[in-house]
Structures are given as structure tokens and as C-alpha cells.
Symmetry: C2
Subunit: 229 residues, 2 copies
């Protein structure tokens, strides 16, 4: 009742996409807004969680802290994505670090209330299952990649999968993250990433200027994806 129609988290979230507008309104009743600004941490390992968080505006990054204290970026959540499902579904405490990438608005759902909602609208569980399954597949591909390809291969794949746009007849992609974060995502270090990008540029595959990457030779880039036969 207090949420302006159309701007609530609920409307845009795939999780609730199966519900009728009236049902969505009901769900919206349970949503509590949450706001964080650039660099603020939203969740820190060990915090116990009693809420499922849905990203409404902005992006957040989810990393895993390993025993050594170093950070490994796992994934970036965009509007419509959720997190904290582990705590909701099993009782487990997730040991992830979640940080706002920019100014962010989130919606928070209390576990108890969400539980009731799921009971009432089983479709929510199915949609949750769908996205978690997708994440699992992606994670398992990452695992395979980490042992099968070298850094060049993974970087090549990453660049190819980036959304691009044409400008003056050139195909240009914009890096969605700081290079150090991309390094972490690819399981390497900023130093190595820097070198590999330089090597690609040297070889005439790409052209890098800040966060803009011009894809010069998609074919040879694609070739680097697979190991030499």
C-alpha cells in the first residue's frame, strides 16, 4: 500500500513474474526496501541472514573469501537477481561477501513471510529452482574451464561473451567491471590480466583503451578459447 505502483521490486523480478498483478501487490506488501551506496558492504561472511534480498536498482558483486582472506569474485547481480537463497532454503549461513558496485536499491523479504508466500504460490519455488539450476550449470562450466583452459583461453571466452555495439563500423565492448574484478572473476591476478590483454592487443586481436575493448578479430579470439589440438 505504501509502494508506488510500477516501481516496486516485485514487478520486475522474474521470481514473481508468474503471479497476477493483484498477487504481486500482495507480495509487495512484504518487501522492505534497503539502500546502499558505492562500496558499502551488504553482507559479510558470518552474518546470519533471515532475509532474501532482491536487487532492484544497481549492481552488487558476490565474492567468496577464502581462508587466506583473499577475495574471489563469484558473480555480479543485476536488477531482478536475488541472493540469500541458501539461508532461506537450507538453514546454512552463506560465507559470501556482498558489496554494492554502485548505488543500489534492494528489496528484503523475511524468511518467515517468504516461506508462507512460497507455500501459497508454489510457482515461486519453481522459478527459484530455475535460476539456481542455471547458476549451478554456470558454476560447473567455470570449474571445468579453470582446469581445462589457461588464462588466455578464459579471457578470450569472457571477451567474446561480452555484449557489444557497433561504432564507426568497429565492434566495441565495454568492460562491465574494474579490471581487477575481472581478474578475480577469471581466477587470475590483475597483473596477469593486464599482460594477457596487452598480448591480445599485440597480436591484433583487440584494441584496449580504458574500459573500452574493440574486438578486431573475433575469429582468432574464438580460436584461443580451445586449447591447441
Amino acid at each position: 500500500m505504501s509502494h508506488p505502483p510500477g516501481t516496486s521490486c516485485v514487478a520486475i523480478v522474474p521470481l514473481f513474474a508468474g503471479l497476477s498483478p493483484e498477487e504481486q501487490d500482495e507480495v509487495a506488501t512484504y518487501a522492505r526496501p534497503l539502500r546502499r551506496s558505492t562500496g558499502e558492504t551488504i553482507h559479510r561472511p558470518g552474518d546470519d541472514v533471515s532475509h532474501l534480498l532482491v536487487v532492484h536498482r544497481g549492481r552488487v558483486k558476490v565474492s567468496h573469501l577464502s581462508a587466506g582472506g583473499q577475495e574471489r569474485l563469484l558473480r555480479v547481480l543485476e536488477p531482478g537477481d536475488f541472493m540469500g537463497e541458501t539461508a532461506f532454503v537450507t538453514g546454512e549461513r552463506p560465507d559470501d561477501l556482498v558489496v554494492a558496485l554502485g548505488d543500489v536499491e534492494l528489496c528484503s523479504f523475511d524468511h518467515r513471510e517468504l516461506g508462507a508466500l512460497v507455500q501459497h504460490y508454489p510457482d515461486i519455488a519453481l522459478r527459484m529452482l530455475r535460476t539456481v539450476t542455471g547458476r549451478l550449470d554456470e558454476a560447473e562450466r567455470t570449474i571445468a574451464d579453470l582446469t581445462a583452459s589457461d588464462v588466455e583461453g578464459r579471457l578470450a571466452g569472457y571477451l567474446i561473451d561480452l555484449p557489444t555495439q557497433r561504432r564507426d563500423g568497429r565492434v566495441v565492448a565495454r568492460l562491465p567491471l574494474a579490471k581487477k574484478d575481472i581478474a578475480s572473476l577469471l581466477g587470475t591476478t590483475p597483473e596477469t590480466l593486464s599482460r594477457k590483454l596487452a598480448a591480445f592487443a599485440e597480436a591484433g586481436l583487440v584494441e584496449v583503451q580504458g574500459r573500452e575493448v574493440v574486438i578486431l578479430d573475433p575469429v582468432r579470439l574464438e580460436e584461443r578459447t580451445r586449447p591447441a589440438p
Copy 2:
């Protein structure tokens, strides 16, 4: 009606544990048995799948084939575990290789029929969500481990997590897989695994004889889990 009571897949499977015995009987109606013997492949990348498979007896290994054609072991399924949920939930084709580790019995559920079941008993979806979420967490921990720890660290962790039993006052674990498979699971090669095990033995941490591993020094083994500070 044709399944001997108590021996059907359905009874032992967590997926259906929330149902009443009568409901389980109904579910059992849809199950089709499937039998494979040692080394036979149950699913090969690219096969399209219209069934969810539940392991009833024996074990199967699930690997991911990378572009280079090499095999990376992802997980081992034991009785009660299921696979093929990706195809069921999203329409995607899983590119996994599934091979019987010994003689295996499986139960197969057609997607269409299973879909109807899930509609009728939403609890099934919730349980599926629960196990997929667990797998995701595990996969993400593996990802973090692959970049944070070295092979020794991962091996140490693997050995520690192994179920053990006491014999003559010694703590002994039995490797549940061929060493080459363990190597794949840990993201390394049989050669390196062999060397690392030898190194642990050398250091007096373990004693290896075939598939039996005597854990001599759990404390120092545990220490190797974390990187040197």
C-alpha cells in the same frame, strides 16, 4: 503396481520423502527402471534428455567434457541422488558425461509426467531446490578453492573430509574412487596426485597402501589446508 514394495526407487529418495506412502506409491507408477553395468555410459554430451534419473543402487560419476575432449569429474551420485534436473527445469541440454561406476540401477521419470507430479505436489520442487542449492554452494566453494589453494591444500582437505574408521587404533580412510578420478575431481593429473600423496607419506602425515589411507597426523594435514601465512 508392478514394483515390489520397499524396493522401488521412490521410497529411499529424499525428493519424494515429503509424500505419504500412498502418494509415493502413485509416484512409483511413473518410474521406469534402468540398469547399467560397470563402465557403461548412461548419458553422453549432446544426447537430449527427456527424463530425470534417480540413482537407486550403485554409484555413477558425472563429468564435464571440455572442448579439448578431456574429462573433468564434477561429482559422484549415490543412491537417492538425481540428475538431469537442468533439462527438466530449463530446456537446456546438459553437456555432461555420466558413467556407471559399478553395476547400477536407476529410475527414470519422464519430464511430462514429472511436471504434472510437481504441479500436484509442490513439495517436490522445494526439495529439488534444496539439493540444487546445496550443489551450487559446493560448486562455488570448489571454484574458490581452485584459485586460492594449491593441489596439496585441496588434497589435504579432501583426505580430511573422507569418512574414516578406526582399526587397531589407527584412523584409516578408504578412497572411494580410482586415484585418476580423484585427481580429476581435485583439478589435477594422476601424476601430480601420486607425487603429492608420496610427499604426504614422506612427511609422516599419512600412510598409503592401495586405496587405504592411514591418517597419521590430522592436525598437520589440516594445516596444509590453508596457505602459509
